[in-house]
Assembly symmetry: C2
Homo-oligomer: 494 residues x 2
């Protein structure tokens, strides 16, 4: 295994062995814990985080440069997410329960046995936190919430962008788990990259989850897949989130679109994975004039010096090109950066796609002018995997049907006259798309379907009732929706 820090490998591995052994033991108890009890304990973590807000928020402000209202909102979202996932998990919604009764006339040609299928927790999960949501994609964020609620222990690798907040949050989480009777070792943290890699490589770890950039995420994905036993690795790696503005929309409401676009790409200083980084607008419109005249918001410092340097470098590379012009803002400051709008035309974009269609994490976006709406289809076809793709259009635009069809193959979420920043935690959310948006495009890291990532199905054939999991018994001692002989039945908690 490649060590990337100066930590002595042998010490690290012994430490990781201890953490993982504790996680395995805790996982056995946690998986066997009644789902309603697991819900109670995860909700207690949510309550503890909210109760500790006044201790946590100042540390977060200090370490991330994010404003207090944003951080308070994010902490509320984080607590809500824990409660929602705990409730849905306790309802057995993610178990995909199926019960087939014996059928001697089953037309397969052989009798159908009594076969009952539910899902079981995977086991220990290593979660790698992100820097840009110090609560919602961090210690007690979506991946941790989904793994715990689904019945898995978590080894959390802190992001170096907010080490004190991570330690303080972990303290709250650990204390709440202990106070409410969770097994020891259910949740642990590590802080070095070497420890994170050692944990991901450990034979008793059964999944990894990650939010961050492409190089780091791909390296971890490769590690997880090259293990003697490969394991699922749910990585969210990067996205440009293109926005397609049709001619009719541009003609009818250019100023409104400009204002909303500026609000979205500069939200949180452009440090959202769903930031709209590319806006396609018709040449025959007032768009570029409006954008040139727009007041860009004054920005605050970025999350950390590494992100500021990364943003500066990508922005300067783009702005320095002969085929790209600076439309508004910019000026070369590293941190805080001024919001920057760059511009090019669609032929240039298509000719140099790999150089121009890049994520610039921070308050910079590229405006691309098209001559003909049909060019939107060319751009859509050229896309790699995206978290989102947005249509700003009118209901009767002819282009939107074909465009949406192509975009369903490229993105996890399509938006219609709304903006991609702001990812609601709901039942129907899909936050994930084809690579590199995600390393597992069939999954989501936000919303209740995020639970599905941390269980796998098991079928019981011919078992006596008393040995079956509650959701598989005839008297269904645990409520869950079930498909019985092919017919769906809602769970008793529905």
């Amino acid at each position: 295994m490649t060590e990337t820090s100066t930590a002595a490998p042998i010490e690290t591995d012994a430490h990781i062995d201890t953490l993982v052994a504790a996680a395995v033991a805790a996982g056995d108890r946690w998986a066997a814990t009644d789902p309603a009890e697991r819900e109670r304990i995860v909700v207690a973590v949510a309550d503890a985080l909210e109760a500790d807000a006044d201790r946590l928020i100042p540390i977060a402000r200090q370490e991330t440069n994010l404003a207090e209202p944003r951080l308070r909102g994010e902490l509320k979202r984080t607590a809500f997410q824990l409660r929602l996932l705990a409730r849905v998990a306790a309802a057995g919604d993610h178990l995909d329960v199926r019960v087939d009764h014996p059928d001697t006339d089953w037309p397969m040609g052989a009798p159908r046995p009594d076969l009952r299928r539910t899902s079981v927790p995977l086991g220990p999960v290593v979660v790698f936190g992100a820097s840009n949501f110090p609560f919602a994609f961090s210690v007690a964020g979506g991946d941790t919430a989904a793994a715990l609620a689904a019945g898995c222990p978590v080894i959390y690798k802190s992001h170096r962008g907010h080490p004190e907040l991570s330690a303080a949050t972990a303290e709250t989480v650990t204390a709440a788990l202990a106070a409410h009777g969770a097994p020891d070792g259910l949740f642990a943290t590590v802080s070095s990259q070497a420890e994170g890699r050692a944990a991901l490589a450990h034979p008793d770890v059964k999944a990894g989850a990650f939010t961050g950039g492409i190089p780091g995420g791909r390296a971890l994905f490769d590690l997880a897949q090259s293990r003697p036993e490969p394991i699922p690795f749910y990585g969210e790696l990067g996205s440009v989130n293109p926005v397609f503005v049709t001619e009719a929309a541009a003609a009818g409401r250019a100023q409104e679109i400009v204002d909303a676009f500026i609000g979205s790409f500069t939200l949180g200083q452009g440090q959202f994975c769903t930031k709209p980084g590319l806006l396609l607008v018709p040449a025959a419109s007032s768009f570029t004039d409006l954008l040139r005249a727009a007041a860009l918001p004054a920005g605050h410092r970025l999350l950390n010096p590494g992100i500021a340097q990364g943003h500066h470098q990508v922005r300067e590379e783009l702005a320095g090109r002969a085929d790209v012009s600076v439309l508004a803002g910019g000026g070369g400051e590293v941190d805080p950066p001024l919001a920057t709008l760059l511009s090019t035309d669609v032929d240039t974009l298509v000719a140099h796609f790999d150089e121009l269609f890049v994520e610039c994490f921070g308050p910079t976006a590229l405006v691309v002018v098209y001559r003909d709406e049909a060019q939107l289809l060319d751009v859509a076809r050229a896309l790699d995997g995206q978290l989102t793709a947005t249509l700003i259009a009118e209901d009767d635009d002819a282009i939107v049907g074909p465009l949406a069809t192509i975009l369903t193959r490229k993105a996890g979420r399509l938006l219609w006259n709304q903006w991609p920043t702001g990812v609601s935690v709901t039942y129907a959310q899909q936050h994930g798309g084809p690579y590199p948006a995600s390393t597992a495009s069939g999954t989501t890291s936000v919303g209740t379907a995020a639970l599905n990532r941390f269980v796998r199905p098991v079928a019981w054939q011919g078992f006596p009732q008393h040995l079956l999991p509650g959701e598989l018994r005839d008297d269904q001692t645990l409520p869950a929706p079930r498909r019985v002989d092919g017919h769906l039945e809602a769970g008793s908690r529905e």
Copy 2:
């Protein structure tokens, strides 16, 4: 890309480019085809296969050494599987449809938008066939059926074990697809390993499926994961399928268990991926005497010379060990081999697990004698991933609760007083388990959940009704079960 045949790489790649381009074009049309129409066409393939039975069965007999009744049964199962998957796919059962209406009071802290999520086909799939089920895991087998029914084109890599049957079956499939209006290029075959690898590496291919052995399967998995865009690879690689006989079961019905075990491990000359390859029995029982005295069935030739040689080699390595004895059968014939029962004790097994707990594809099994039922837990803990694990036990055996708990972490299907050979195609089937049983333990290659492998979720936010897929519209022009604002609603075809 590594070429493993003598085919000129450039020619191969050009050929593959053509096939994949046709598959992409066909896939666009197929994905846009009404699900009921897709069902009709896939059912037509099933009908055509059954109509062609008298042409196909003799070729299969010639190439596989399998008996006619077995082959006729398998063809029936194959046709049934196509029909069942087509019907379930048309019902939208695998789409995991979710509809969230806007909610300004959503307790996340921000209003919930109108968000609707369904699933879309992945795109072209490369399917690598197996030798041991020349119909059910071959050209028109489970993976092809699931991919087509889910809306994906298929490029099928034939198994060299039955080339003429593969060509004849592909002819039937292609003719039926064409006659019933499927888009050209929806289904194509390749026959060399180099072509199969080239197809799997092609950027426009979006998934792979495989049934076979560990070395070949792992090489393809590694290829799929190391692509610039990694893609899902659903490989089923190998399984020993241990059977745990408790003391009470052995005391009460030893002869019955012996007879059933012999029937199961010699079924199809032991060439099932679910063959019970290891039987754990108590020392204090008449088991070994009964097994020694048992009449083992006379066997026919194995599927092909490579399999015969592989079986012979593993059997001789095991039988040649000082700590393994030959209990019954054997004799060293390569093909047809005589059924062979080998024997050792549980301490030896645990001490040399990696050498003794191996798949021996053919009519050979290892009987392992234990002194104490608690040793069954040690063996269960030592297992790697399995397709199945079987308990032959009594309802009031104290060991079975703890044993089953461990086995749920190791296997995809647990059986109770039934035998693992015979995999029913049903709603609740789970054929797949932790690695190396599967490369994707959250999935199954048999049963209706096999459809889930070939779609990925997409969310539509704020879209007007006329641009939504039918299953997401308020008037639901396509029937499917849906979760609406968190509450499950059965589809109109339920």
